[in-house]
């Protein structure tokens, strides 16, 4: 049923998108618009379930996005996610990933609405991304685009390499089970001698004040270094690096959060103390060196909790068919003791396969 609804919607959006693309040229015009639509059919199969749960989860996602700028002064952007999921029963849900309006005046930008901020520099983890969407180290790229932004008003002052941001985010519209508070946060960001550096400070209403910094730096031809440190009751630290070798991208991160309410992962006991994590990844976006394989991408990663010695191995393979379709397989195999963070998953392996359409 849901797929029957999606098809006419898809064609309607395709027509609108084609009109918009034809109308938007490099020539200067008062209005500029952009459209994008993604449709994903994703099936996840769980192996060796230890609990009486269905072994298959099927999801169909429709993700339209629309942005509009007027004279580089006014902007509006919205990105929605419609999810139809079939597991123990069938449910549909509409999520608002982002919807915000913006006003630009001189060096100042004002934004109001739901928006995704990305202040953290970590790939799989973040210590300082106080308003960022949550990082999932076994799916750091959020492959189904299910993350949602925070509801906020924000002001940015940008002048040369300097930028100061002030944001106030309300938790009033956040899901009831979330651990979010009303947050006031400030950031000073500057690019100096190749260091992209930020100082971040703020306060969660009814909870903690916080302060910290982030940086990224490219070293030589093949290295990128990044790091984050944040004090919120205790210190949380992330250090990471990216290295390019024979067109293979290697990423490594070490992350140590305190075992406090804000940083604790749901799978970790409050008595477990400070946790230490490691993330290793190797990937190649396109297998260009092999004739006929340039549409293929492959990556593998390992996420480990060094305290309880549990880990998850992840393998991703995807292939593009033309400019609009791609198919993928995402495989995750948790391992470790039953009470360990990753070992407590109720299955031995989860294999997701899907196709997506891009417009």
């Amino acid at each position: 049923m849901n797929r029957l609804v999606i098809i006419p919607v898809l064609f309607a959006l395709a027509s609108v998108s084609a009109y918009a693309q034809a109308g938007s040229s490099a020539e200067s015009s008062a209005f500029e618009t952009r459209y994008a639509v993604q449709v994903i059919d994703d099936a996840t199969f769980y192996a060796n379930l230890r609990e009486p749960l269905p072994a298959t989860l099927n999801q169909v996602l429709l993700e339209p996005s629309f942005s509009m700028h007027y004279l580089d002064r006014l902007s509006f952007s919205t990105s929605l996610i419609g999810v139809a999921a079939t597991y123990s029963d069938t449910s549909t849900q509409l999520r608002v990933k982002e919807t915000y309006g913006g006003l630009s005046a001189g060096d100042f930008d004002f934004t109001a609405g739901r928006k995704m901020l990305r202040w953290g520099t970590g790939y799989a983890f973040t210590a300082a991304g106080v308003l960022d969407p949550p990082r999932n180290p076994t799916d750091p790229s959020d492959r189904l685009n299910l993350n949602e932004g925070r509801d906020m008003i924000k002001t940015d002052w940008v002048h040369g390499p300097h930028a100061i941001s002030a944001a106030w985010s309300t938790a009033a519209l956040a899901p009831s089970q979330s651990n979010l508070h009303d947050t006031t946060a400030f950031r000073y960001n500057v690019l100096v001698r190749g260091f992209d550096t930020s100082l971040i400070a703020g306060d969660d209403r009814g909870a903690d004040a916080f302060g910290g910094f982030t940086f990224t730096r490219v070293v030589g031809q093949a290295w990128e270094l990044h790091g984050e440190a944040m004090w919120r009751q205790q210190a949380a630290v992330l250090a990471g690096a990216k290295y390019i070798f024979s067109n293979i991208t290697l990423v490594g991160e070490f992350y140590t959060p305190p075992n406090t309410t804000y940083y604790r992962d749901p799978g970790v006991s409050p008595q477990a103390g400070r946790q230490h994590y490691m993330f290793l990844s190797a990937g190649k976006d396109r297998l260009r060196e092999r004739p006929g394989w340039k549409e293929w991408g492959v990556s593998g990663s390992l996420v480990a909790n060094l305290n309880d010695r549990s880990y998850t191995t992840v393998v991703d393979v995807n292939r593009w068919f033309g400019n609009h379709f791609d198919a993928y397989v995402h495989f995750a195999a948790p391992a470790g003791g039953r009470n360990a963070e990753y070992g407590s998953a109720p299955y031995s392996a989860a294999t997701s396969a899907g196709v997506s359409f891009h417009l």
Partner: protein, 255 residues
């Protein structure tokens, strides 16, 4: 005897003066060649960058074994010689952006949680690399030396050797053929630090955009995998006042 000595001294003196004259002429011609090389390179850049601040569409078609297999569309906004912002427009890359400030480069992917810092090596992936699209002011990035004048096909060309001023440049060495008549780029060869010849380019077609004669089509040949090449087609180039904050690396609310 006396006159022979005087004659010999006069001969030595004249030889010395002659040598000094030739040496000074040679030095002068080398200086003017160097000046010419810089002027030539700056002039050749105007065929790729028509205005100090402008926007242009670039369509890249990749060919493998002679057949087109992929198309990419970009909108490039450039301000000065060191600020470039690239919006990816084709369906499979929509939502991506690339920002280049001098030698620092970031890519914004819609599906990652942060802007990703790009290393110089990552600029070289693909037949048409990020650097080929985002970095076209060679006079800002390379020091030119005039090598020779030669024919490229039936076009008389002046050949420049460009050496990267900084390690962060896309290529470390470029051999650049410019049409002698008007310094219009004709072809180029691109080399890595190791000396490896990685790509070649032919500048195939020029057209008038906003009253300026600008590059319309460029073909890049992969010299590692000889069976592939990319055609870059430029269109809709217009001057546009671009705000500095478009080039701010921390800006998240991009199209």
């Amino acid at each position: 005897m006396y006159s022979k000595k005087r004659l010999f001294r006069a001969f030595l003196f004249l030889s010395l003066v002659g040598l000094l004259f030739v040496w000074s002429l040679r030095g002068h011609s080398q200086t003017s060649a160097r000046v010419d090389a810089e002027a030539l390179l700056k002039r050749s850049d105007t065929y790729r960058n028509g205005w100090p601040s402008y926007v242009v569409r670039v369509k890249i078609t990749d060919y493998e074994l002679g057949k087109s297999d992929e198309e990419h569309l970009y909108e490039v906004s450039q301000k000065g010689t060191d600020k470039t912002y690239v919006e990816f427009m084709s369906p499979r890359e929509k939502g991506r952006h690339l920002l280049m400030l001098v030698d620092d480069m970031w890519v914004y992917l819609p599906d990652t949680s942060r802007p990703v810092r790009i290393t110089p090596l990552e600029r070289l992936t693909g037949d048409a690399s990020n650097g080929d699209v985002a970095r076209t002011n060679y006079a800002a990035d390379y020091s030119p030396v005039y090598l020779r004048t030669e024919m490229a096909g039936d076009i008389e060309c002046q050949v420049l050797e460009l050496t990267a001023k900084r390690k962060g440049a896309t290529y470390q060495r470029i051999l650049y053929w410019l049409r002698a008549e008007d310094a219009r780029p004709v072809k180029a060869e691109f080399y890595l630090t190791s000396g490896k010849h990685i790509k070649s380019a032919t500048f195939d077609d020029y057209g008038t955009f906003g009253g300026r004669l600008l590059l319309r089509r460029l073909t890049l040949y992969d010299e590692i995998r000889h069976n592939s090449h990319s055609v870059l087609e430029y269109s809709g180039a217009v001057p546009r006042a671009l705000p500095d904050k478009l080039f701010y690396q921390g800006r998240a609310d991009r199209f």
